[in-house]
């Protein structure tokens, strides 16, 4: 992956999440009113509608809900084949991500994964996942 990945700029709702990535910390949102966890960051709790939301650090561990090996690149940053996956964190929220450092044949639904970090040119980092050994 030579060219930079297409990553949009942070906004008022997502700034703290992206700032934490600079220290390799993966955040999810936690609702103080009802206890719900969610990702991506947004201005209200999707469970109860409360605005009383805080960032909490996630364990970085989860399971592969599903995945696909992409064979045609949508952007020059990507060199096929590579793995795109839906990862369900232990805290509940699901992230779209990549599975890196694994033989594609070893990636399966429901396998356990842990977060890894890929540097972005602007100092932010992108959470990707590797198979737990």
């Amino acid at each position: 992956m030579s060219d930079a990945r297409p990553v949009a700029a942070a906004d008022s709702q997502t700034q703290s999440w992206w700032d934490a990535t600079r220290e390799s910390r993966l955040l999810v949102q936690h609702c103080r009113a009802c206890g719900h966890h969610q990702h991506y960051p947004r201005a209200l709790c999707t469970e109860c509608g409360s605005l009383d939301i805080e960032d909490v650090e996630a364990s970085g561990r989860g399971t592969v809900y599903s995945f696909t090996v992409v064979h045609r690149a949508p952007h020059p940053a990507f060199t096929p084949p590579y793995v795109v996956a839906l990862v369900r964190l232990e805290e509940g929220p699901v992230l779209l991500s990549n599975i890196v450092g694994a033989d594609h044949g070893d990636v399966r639904c429901d396998v356990r994964v842990k977060v890894a970090w890929e540097d972005l040119p602007d100092g932010r980092k992108l959470p990707v996942f590797s198979l737990e050994s």
């Binding site: 990945r5 297409p6 990553v7 949009a8 700029a9 942070a10 906004d11 997502t14 992206w18 990702h39 991506y40 947004r42 809900y65 599903s66 995945f67 696909t68 090996v69 992409v70 064979h71 045609r72 690149a73 949508p74 952007h75 940053a77 990507f78 590579y82 795109v84 996956a85 839906l86 929220p93 699901v94 992230l95 779209l96 991500s97 990549n98 399966r108 639904c109 429901d110 992108l126 990707v128």
Partner: protein, 375 residues
Amino acid sequence: MGVAESELGATGGTILELQAQAVSRALEDAGLSLSDVDGLFTTGVSRFSATQVAEYFGIRPTWTDATMAGGASYEIFLAHASEAIRSGLCDVALLSYGNNQRSARSRKLGGVIDDHTPEAQFEAPYGPLNPISLYAMAAERHMHEFGTTSEQLAEVAVAARAWALKNPVAFRYRSDPLTVDDVLASPVVSTPLHALDCCLITDGGGAVLVTSLERAHSLRKPPVVVLGHGETTTNNGMSQIPDLTMTGAYVSASRAYEMAGLGPSDIDVAEVYDSFTITVLLELEALGFCKRGEAGAFVSKGRITPGGEFPLNTSGGGLSYCHPGVFGIFLLIEAVRQLRGESGERQVPGAETAICHGTGGILSTHATAILGVDR
């Protein structure tokens, strides 16, 4: 109702020109004129789609809807038009669509992601093909949970081609029959989906006219009646889908069946959105034609091919007839023709009820319509 397509395939036409062809033919089919139209339902043209199309046609409708729900838009429009007519808010509703995506080469592998959306920060950085990779992950999960195979997925494409060979306006009408091996030998795009698991990219337009049953009795063709409808929306991004194999179609279908007072066993012909082969399996389960997880076996052994016991996507579908981006209106057109007995070599004998199911985005929008003959 009046229904029609424009020219299909690679036309070199503009979006508005394709709409005009379809609308003119549908008005002829119904025996109506543009001045009868007081409701307009269209999307995918420009920022002000309904206004754009109304101006092009020189009409000033008093009821408009330009909801963009991708492939479910026109089943949603049919529902909204029916309810507007029932409430007396409009008398003759025109559902109109056109797209020149093959000629204009306007599709992008990564889709179109607006910079200010959460997907631009949290999904596009990972390089998914949009929409293909989400459907691919649904297929992978279906295989994992239920043992569904690539061969079973391929059966959907094989049957679609067989139906298209009976539809003279289908893009693949003059093609060869397809085999399961052909599908499996086509290039992998996003595992487990191959190129031939994916719908066509063609130009095309379609139009459907809807009016009250009372007025329909005075028109050129026998009426087709909207018996029930249902819709829901579940997710815009890939990470936000509640369940990859249990989609919103369960909700839209149960609402439509309840309104119609019918169940799956009452349906004579099914027209369901085949953006990808997996889409059809998910829909067949949600519409109640087989149990959850059993659609792979259901579509095998010739059940959905012409002459099989379950007439499905009799036009050849998005896989082999046409797919100008938002296929939902073509589901309605084929269902109406089947219920009128106008489908020629692909006619399902004695069809009196049809179900149309549209799915848009990345399993995002879901809308079901149940149609029947007037009795």
